[in-house]
């Protein structure tokens, strides 16, 4: 079982998110996170899906997504060659004993304080999943009031784009 990130380009039509989500639930695959966003092309959205599974699950996820009419291109983000980022917003208790400890963590993790009150901080952190996980474990002794984080967004390094793969770039993923 391994975690992997899949990026897909979809026509931004009514119900496309349902179709993608429905494929996962119907075939018993789990989504760890899913983000949908606009792209450089009007009418086209990009979904970044993080999922966990074995090689069989990964291949089936890609091939079953490929069957959806509105999915234009699919790529498994190459682990070594991808830029993957998440955003974390975390609200922590403020106290005189813990103040310096929190400020140090904010500096070390290149995080920023976006709200400050006598009894609480709200901190924004961006980075790879593991960095966010580490930050949370560092500040958790201070008392986490609440937190939320986005799923991963990801692009490959270099000049290649997912757009180049529309309607099937790899033979095996070709439509129909």
């Amino acid at each position: 079982m391994k975690q992997f990130v899949i990026s897909i380009r979809v026509s931004n039509k009514f119900g496309v998110l349902s179709r993608v989500a429905s494929m996962f639930s119907r075939r018993g695959f789990n989504i760890d996170s899913l983000t949908v966003s606009a792209t450089e092309t009007e009418g086209i959205s990009r979904m970044t899906i993080t999922a966990t599974g074995d090689e069989y699950a990964k291949k089936q996820i890609i091939l079953q997504l490929n069957r959806l009419h509105e999915v234009l291109a699919i790529i498994e983000m190459p682990y070594e060659n991808s830029l993957i980022r998440e955003l974390l917003l975390i609200k922590i208790k403020n106290s005189s004993e813990r103040h310096q400890e929190i400020m140090d963590a904010v500096n070390i993790f290149k995080a920023s304080i976006i709200d400050y009150a006598p009894d609480s901080f709200c901190i924004e952190v961006t980075g790879e999943t593991s960095k966010l996980d580490t930050f949370i474990s560092v500040v958790s002794p201070c008392g986490i009031i609440e937190m939320c984080r986005t799923g991963a967004v990801a692009l490959t390094r270099g000049s290649q784009s997912l757009k180049d793969m529309d309607m099937g770039y790899l033979n095996v993923y070709k439509k129909y």
Binding site: G15, S22, M23, Q60, R67, L68, N171, Y176
Partner: protein, 558 residues
Amino acid sequence: MKLTGAQIIIETLIEQGCTTAFGYPGGAVLNIYDELYNNSDRIEHIITAHEQGAAHAADGYARATGKVGVVIATSGPGATNLVTGIATAQLDSVPLVAITGNVSTDLIGRDSFQEVDIMGITIPITKHNYFVKSVDELADTIREAFTIAKSGRPGPVLIDVPKDVQLALCEYNPQPVTTPYPMELAADYNIQAAAEIIGEARRPYIYCGGGVVIGEASKEVIALSEKIDAPVGCSMMGLSAIPRAHKNSLGMQGMHGTFAASRAMAEADVIVALGVRFSDRATGNKKKFASGARIIHIDIEPAELGKNIPAYLGIIADVKDAVARLTAAVKEKKNTEWRAKVEEFKARDVNPNFDPNDMRPFQIIDCVNKYTDIDTVIATDVGQHQMWTAQRYGFSTPRTFITSGGLGTMGYGMGAAIGSAVGTGKRTVLFTGDGSFGMNLNELATAVSFGVPVIVVIMNNGVLGMVRQWQSIFYQKHYSNTTLGRKTNFKMLAEAFGADGYECFTMEEFDTAFKTAYEKGMPAVIDCHIDMDEMVLPMTPPGGTVDQMIVKKKDINL
């Protein structure tokens, strides 16, 4: 020229080659039905007794003709009644376009009268579906739906059209019939690789599926089997592709397949799997399935390769083209030893005590077979009668076996038989059971109203035979809710519907009844009384292997 949405729907259906639609009117499709009224000379509409029957009829029409079936239903319950029919078509890759009305866009999302989110409901059971928000996109949406339905691996597409969109005006420009998306063709190196594997084979076996029927590749597959001297076993969906009388045909394989097909597949060293998806009903225990064989899997759907059974060589391709090129690439060979062994297996399928005068399932099927024509479409419902038909009937023409394989929909038969008879313009014989027939027998009314030549043969054992069989074998004969004890008189029922009715207790009576009904070519029901403990054998237990196959009743002390 400006047309209303409803007019555009009818014009586009006609433009895309639809001559017959099945359906049921209602509040949200009144405008469409008004246009059907105005255009009754250009497009025929068959109103069924229930929307489910209409969906199955469109499906049967598509399977028998290869054309796209069209079904129309109103919003809410009309739309949900299509669901079983759409799922049936999806599981068996049948090209279908379903058009549903919906409430006006200003009423959408307010739980209005007869409002249901049919697009959301059918996402997992359609190849694609649409909710049409504007009349501007209506014609192109219908065209795209036809294209998707018939491209690659076919499937059902649903289009939900709100009432105000049916009323709105829009410019309409006729277009030609759309062409399917181009098929993937096999790479030469894959054909070469497959030819080499087959060249090394000493015990080759061809596993032929529904894709061969849909892909119209029967001739090619037969030619391949002859050139490489390989026996051919079929999944149930592939049965009509290979003439049963052909020397290489082993009939159906799988849970209720012939001993010969199942044994030959288990002992093969190379399996050429064509247009199949290795369903659990066809493979049994996947881990132990044909463990000694190298599998060459050719299918048009990439997601099928390796989904159920890992392939040694998987090729995404149009099966007709790929098999033709493969046949050209392989060297002709003879596998004398292997074929002798297969002949021994075949002998195990012959019942030496067979008496054609016994009123039993195979005898009934043989009798039908004696009178039917080479291209007569045989439809079934789901259960024991379906398996007996698959095992016994001598199919010889593609698209002549119409049955719900993937979903296993009891109640499928009546609608499907009507659709196939309408599509082919010829008599269709429906084998059904008293259980399945009870589910949608209301469609007898449709057959009578439209004079559709459907001859219904009920294998009436008074029980839900297939479930009873499992209860006999696996549930200590606890016949929970399978002994129906109904008092229905099917002969009188048929007559009440305006059809001919026959009741038979002997083969002599059946022979006369079927001959009369078939020659008359009008809707008829023949009620055949058979024993409730008839079983479908051979049987490989679910998840079992060929070694656990039950061939005779005495194997399980029954």
